[in-house]
Amino acid sequence: MRTLTFAQALNEALKQEMRRDPTIYVAGEDVGVYGGIFGVTAGLLQEFGEDRVRDTPITESAIIGSAVGAAAAGLRPVVELMFIDFIGVALDQLYNQAAKMKYMFGGKARLPIVMRTTCGAGMCAAAQHSQSLEAWMMHIPGLKVVVPSTPYDAKGLLITAIRDDNPVVFIEHKMLYGIEGEVPEEPYTIPFGQADVKREGTDVTVVATMAMAHKALTAAEELAKDGISVEVVDPRTLTPLDVETIVNSVKKTHRLVVVHEAVKHGGAGGEIVASVVEEALDYLDAPPKRVAAPFTPVPFSPVLEQVFIPSVEKIVAAVKEVVT
């Protein structure tokens, strides 16, 4: 099968969906002429024109808020929030308007909105361009939260997101844009709430998202040399969360490590561990562990940033702790 980068896979999903459905439009900062700051919307303006590929001013509230109005009025906006760190200036339109409208209106609204955004450290972009804020998003009823890790998942999940009739926060880790993987040419969907077992194993379950899924796989390779068999589970969506697949894996391995790049305190890992403890405490042979960033803003200096980002070594160490 041919390979694409993560960014190319997303780009292909956008193009294929826009060809299929004329009510889909793309809007955001530098999504048109520039093609998106990370190149994800490249070529869209040329193919679909200015009505459907709309460069906006730097106006995050209006980017998201206009998507809410347009969606309520029947369009399917796919808007780009350049960095998830910028959500602070626009949050009301996402969590009070988009997320709650259907419920507040007694079910009589449809809000098919995709808000694509980037997260993550690794580029020395410092504290306001490097955060992983997915836990904020998964705390809000009415939103769906997608966190792909591979080009294949990125394309399939984005197509599902665009076809979904709810507001979807689609989070792309910026260090993944260049990774390559096999991606089918035809459009396909990946259901939300379906975790993917990225590697099968028998001794310990490692649940990891986005960039951390790759580190977990690298750690699994190393641990295999020591005779430790690691099962890597990637939830792919945090809302809905596929607790069943995670619990089933833990019932097999009896051990759990959760890895994410977001800070540990109040992170998604707490929810995952709690769900496992609630449903499968008796199966656990060791206390679960979380590997996550320390409770600090993201530092600038490359030296500090690498300390901040959970490393393969830390994952290996955590796994060894739970298996011994």
Binding site: Y25, P57, T59, S61, A62, G69, A72, A73, D165
Partner: protein
Amino acid sequence: MSTDTEKLLWMYTNMLKIRRFEEKVGEFFAAGKIPGFVHLYIGEEAVATGVCAHLRKDDYITSTHRGHGHLISKGGDLKLMMAELFGKRTGYCKGKGGSMHIADVDLGILGANGIVGGGPPIATGAALAAKYRGTDGVAVCFLGDGASNQGTFHEGVNLASIWKLPAIFVVENNMYGISLPQTRSMRVQDIADRAAAYDIPGFVVDGNDVIAVYEAAGEAIQRARAGEGPALIECKTYRYRGHFEGDPMVYRTREEEEMWRAKDPISRFETKLMEMGVLNEAQAREINERILAQVEEAVRFAEESPWPAPEEVLEDVYTV
């Protein structure tokens, strides 16, 4: 005045309908039958009426926390509204929204809003949808003087301006953001002056004169339908009641209230219509009685309606 008799009588009837509905809501809130926060539109009836007199079913509005008047003017059903205010399952939102979130998407009403300034970006989006589809539909954003200081107002109007969208921003300037007077929340006297910042027309209107509102809105809406972009209309008006029911109103004088009551939009218009020979005493009485009967019917419907079932709390979060 070239407005036809039918339209004039619709405006009169609509204003009276809002007034009687709101009086009844105030009564039932005081009696403890309507829970939560209630913000009444009494005194501002001419604004929603004069604007919505131009709107079609396929036009959109966004409303505010003081939204009952907008809903009624856009064709909202009094029974479904009252039932929603009571928290009943037969209400517009099955009892999940209440006064601050009443909506009827089928009528183009994209919701009252509990967030001051929540509406402008949403109205801009609805206007985008109208333009995107190639229709001549418009979106009207009702907002208050207080909301005009929010960042979302700037962002919504600016985007509508640069994209030349059919959005009309109607500021109901009732002079107070809860307790803070306009003089302490902005330097400009006329909020319509802010239109200059977006290179769009700004209108200052006596918001207690329904014909003045109707004419300004007509011009703005006609421009928008013709593809000439957004406008900002400031309607200077006054709420007779407090910010919400229960507000002690320590921040304004009884004299000021009396001065505004003397400019009551409904009695002024009634006098005018009688002078014009469009309305007589008997007709006015008949209209009033008909409305009172409608409001009573709405109350009866609300009172007799069932509460939501407990399990409904889990429904309507997502579209499946």
